[in-house]
Symmetry: D2
Subunit: 417 residues, 4 copies
């Protein structure tokens, strides 16, 4: 008799193929699930392999649009960034994948969900917190944290032996000296040789960006239009084309960014579970969009609102996403806050892409009026009383003069340290 | 009889020369002051001109070391950045200049200080808040906010007429279509043609960075060493030289960054007085140092400490500097906080400079041990119990499950929006 | 010919009566305006006096409902408090008064608005920022900042002389040794004898709270019901009455709080313009409502959401209100944020009022389920795996152990300082 | 042969006596440890009982001074408070207890430490995070999370049976319908009947505060002196005595607060592990000290410094303490920050204690000068230019006018909602 039905996140690789075989061996019925979040994949081959190994079904869902619309563009609105550098590509994909897996689990009547994440990473936390929040009664099978499993499969050879025994096909591709995970937002590279933080990644590692050194020596100009902080149109100047559908726009930006080598980062980051780890990421579209959005906000967003939003929403939202807290009351609330701050973020940013960088060439907005060249102009005093500034400085200095007197009694501020 | 003695910030340009002439005409005695914060200047010519116009004295002080040591390197420790993009070059220079001017005013027995800042900018605020804090009794003469002055000198021609009348020498150089201000940290460009935020700056505007498009096609590698977050050594790989004296190190980084076109930004920013303005800045050394420091912190700084520091010190310190609050109790306090957070920021970052960008190649630290390749490794479970993560997720999900149940009663989290 | 029409905030007191007379003398036509925000006033007498002095009209508006609904209850939702102690009574009233005065100015075709605020206080800033934001073209006459006015009326005797000269009736009441300002939210007391921060206020100063020492020795219990963080019902246990209309509910709470002496504070605070000043305030209803709301949030609000909201919305909103920034993009935005955080704040809090204090007796919610006595119970392990906590602690300690090892190399954490 | 040596936190109660017996039964050698943090205890009886049951040793340490000096007074400097209400009494005691237990474990050569905390509470986390940070190699035995133990001792009767079997003496005292934990900072009450958050605690529950309703009807005045934010002297007006030794000062304040019924709170709070729980606490000395300190800061601390400190340090430090992160890099760092903000907190606060409340009567400082009655005075314009405020308002409104125009295009700010 079956121990129950499991919905397994299945990628077709050696790890999840082994897990599939092992779950079947343990007496579970298994429905496999694979999310299309824009990665390169031979979908039919994965499907065939799952069924060959013994899955009852293999369900593949195209989540690209919800990934871009709900997660990536929200991150753009937020200027989301983790520890000042990481654009959160993996973190953004996990919620849509976990939600879709739970939808499949529900449709297929599964009592269990399972995944192939390791026991030391962020992803297990992101997936499982999402699973439990979406359905507090779901049961999770995490083989890489189950001693029965991880002691049996202690090394790659054990996996290969099991594959041979069970007739699981193994692609002969030599394993890379690091692990990769790709979606539309980025490709990540970690572990293996990258665990030495002083080891420069090999040039052939990067998949979503070409080498800046070999990128075209001719720059390429583009225009990105935003409505309420959401990218709504991309114009490529080289051929005068426009892209308005979100997935197409995003893919086109990825292509442009790839060509010009834009969006590589290599960092040591702090995982939610308290370990430091080294990660490399290339995120062409996200890098360009974040820059353009940040730039437009300079033109159209009130400075005080921006400062408060920067301090509180931007960093917190980014940390929540990184830590797997997408399905949480605080993230839901912060989304409301950040969307409400974007009403005025309407306009267009002109950019130049060239050898590893995007540069802003200019920005404008037809609807927003906070920038006022007349009043800001150094060449005129119309609508401005310079005497007011004297009063402003006078009042602002009241408090500081008291401090100055205090310091004077201690020797003063006049000498350098 | 003299109305009193004024210490005037004098640059030798048309504006401050007119102010000098005008102050003398008004019956003041004037001591001129000029700070050397690394800008390009014909110091002797400025001196001669001041005296020729009628200044009692012209005092020039070399502030480069205190500028780099006290301000620029503190900004590096802080990862300081304003509105996500601006590295604060002007804001960092103002405190050391204002302090030195007040020292001169005190030594020379001046009751007044004066400057040529416009009435709409940030600099007037920065200078005067510093003046008043350092000496609450000082009197400030700000001609560009005095109707007697600004109505008389309503345009450039009025200034030229006055110069002719007073025999003030005017350099025949055609005025640039924007204004510039340079120091070691950056050169700023604003006003004039740049007041249209959609107008791309002319390529020949930039002075501290060469055009990335014509920068060398051969990358250049460097190593930057930090102790307690302060850059203490620069190694240039191309010739094996090292730089340890702070001003030399900083200048060398500026030279490398200039050659490779690193550190240009073009933004619309929010001035303290509530106006939006467009500014362009090139900051080669600061751009490279900020990146290197940020990277090293990933390796050596505790993640929670970093998150708290990022939220509160980094942005606030940057805003205080931008707003001219260097001499304030809150900045003094935040300095204590940020320095205390840097004890562990010891190590070296290897970088590659290439066509507009610096890329991190690797980082290491001999003394710091928070990064632990063994425990972080995906290849081993030594010193790690994967079962612990199950408990961690279980406990972390308690709160989220409650939220999930709440949402379930409203239709659930399972569908995309 | 008239210099134009002024809408003057007129209270009937000596100051604004003098301003009224002076404006007329200067050649303005004056429409007087007085807001009813719940203060004790002989409205007809004020009206008669304004007209007698020469006002074209005297318009009195009852703003109590918009004051309570829009400002006071929003402050309750926010747990608003300034510098940890002040419940913002004056700050909350200013926006509704300023807005109504601008409505009247618009209806009456006034080009000017005027007020009797002093030049050192917060109120001038609050009123005028509101005026200018609501109508950037409005002209403000602030006599106490106009040297023509303040030099002529340098002391109380000058005001009395002017009153005698102009036939302005003066109430013979002896001036209090401090100034007062009352509305439904509180009465404020400052200046005069209170300027010595070590001078205890006289017991007969307080008007909205009876002396706790002579308050009833019998406590009084009440129930306050909230929907989405808004007080919607007050039940008084002593007589079984209920109050649901917002102004009535608020007034009744003021009456109960007055009787039991609840809500007095005496502080030194930091004014927006950088001066420290001493203020005393009694705010019975607001004190009770803030406590009840804070308590209910403990029961129904998610802890993480609350922590983020506390850090960023509560303090910032309070500071914005204090500084007169009610009509600002950032306050408008924070309102959206804080309201969005209140969806779940539904329930009832039972309180006891007694001699200066309100005590919470208990709280409950029919709709909210985050509090779960079963899972929280120390008496059962149903639905809880204590082993999970071991894992939670294990993972949480990973980072801390690294820190411990670091400290150990420096002598360890084991000894007290 | 012994399984090893355990240092057990032993209180003499039924739970830890059972744990002691059980550990011995399991084959461990046990050294008992009890911290004196000011609770009421028959120390000799506990000692005798431990030895009688079979402990090798029973070590009692007086930690009162390090508790008050290092933890309680730091909390006062910080104005520490959790979720706006809880003064952290338990959280403050845990670090000193855990550290002392680890000192004993080291001195006695123990490989293990053990405690009687339940598996659902905060204390297990606080203790164990401290243990692991102080010595990453320590092994922790937490019987209430060990199924072998908690399944065997599923109810109170199982404990009593075991006691009978092992000859463990049981005090015949009827168990209270809630659990209590006391130290100098407070007594906490939770669980049992208190798990219903709408159940008012019985009046005889409170141990550290007398009932305000029966408290003296005569108020009592005291003076508290601070140096750098630390209470250094207490003067009791009734008898003219002074207390300067920290533990005596603290105890005296507890006595005064007890008499007048000051410092009771009853809340629902969010535990670190994500559960909501109801807790009641009475903290007389801490309540009075926090009020006095907060008040003095109004007089002597710069307003901007205070605002930044309030936003970031106060709440974060409180949350860290609550969550058991005392021994962490971020708490160590925040301590440096908060101490640096206290240099100017010197002065005296005069308070009146009466029936459940402390009221501030006045405050003064001989050394601090930020409060300036002259410049703040409403009665004089010496040293103040009211015209400056006009300029201040003018500049401050630039940004707001832009917003007003934007809103005007949407219907304006003039109408109430």
């Amino acid at each position: 008799m079956s121990k129950g039905k499991v919905c397994l996140a299945y990628s077709g690789g050696l790890d999840t193929s082994t897990i599939l075989g092992w779950l079947l061996e343990q007496g579970y019925e298994v429905v496999c699930f694979l999310a299309d979040v824009g990665q390169d994949e031979d979908w039919e081959a994965v499907k065939a392999k799952a069924v060959q190994i013994g899955a009852t079904k293999m369900i593949i869902e195209d989540l690209r649009k919800e990934f871009v619309d709900e997660l990536c563009f929200r991150a753009v609105q937020c200027n989301a960034i983790y520890e000042g550098r990481y654009l959160l590509g993996t973190s953004l994909a996990r919620p849509v994948i976990a939600r879709a897996q739970m939808r499949v689990a529900e449709q297929e009547g599964c009592d269990f969900v399972s995944h192939g994440c390791t026991g030391k990473g962020n992803d297990q936390v992101r997936f499982e917190l999402a699973f439990y929040t979406i359905n507090p009664d779901i049961k999770v099978i995490a083989p890489w944290r189950d001693p029965v499993f991880f002691k049996r499969f202690a090394g790659r050879n054990d996996l290969l032996d099991f594959a041979a025994e069970k007739g699981i096909p193994v692609t002969s591709t030599k394993a890379k000296p690091y692990s990769m995970d790709a979606n539309m937002a980025h490709c990540s590279y970690e572990a293996g040789m990258l665990e030495d933080p002083d080891q420069t990644p090999p040039e052939d590692m990067w998949t979503m960006t070409d080498d800046p050194e070999t990128a075209p020596s001719k720059p390429e100009d583009i225009h990105i239009f935003f409505e309420k902080g959401i990218p709504t149109k991309l114009q490529t100047l080289v051929d005068g084309k426009t892209y308005t559908e979100s997935v197409e726009l995003f893919n086109k930006l990825n292509a442009i960014g790839k060509l010009h080598g834009i969006g590589r980062i290599d960092i040591v980051e702090n995982r939610f579970i308290g370990l430091k780890s080294r990660g490399c990421y290339d995120s062409p579209a996200m890098t360009i969009l974040r820059l353009a959005h940040l730039d437009l906000e300079g033109l159209v967003l009130d400075g005080q609102l921006r400062s408060i939003r920067d301090t509180f929403v931007t960093q917190k939202w980014s940390e929540l996403l990184y830590n797997g807290m997408y399905f949480s009351p605080e993230r839901e609330w912060l989304d409301t806050c950040l969307i409400a701050a974007q009403d005025r973020v309407n306009g267009v940013v002109r950019l130049r892409c060239y050898k590893g960088n995007a540069y802003v060439l200019g920005r404008s907005s037809e609807t927003e009026k906070l920038y006022d060249a007349d009043i800001a102009s150094m060449d005129t005093l119309d609508n401005f009383s310079p005497e007011d500034t004297t009063g402003f400085i006078g009042i602002t200095s009241i408090r500081l003069k008291k401090y100055g007197l205090q310091k004077r009694a201690e020797g003063g501020l006049i000498n350098s340290k």
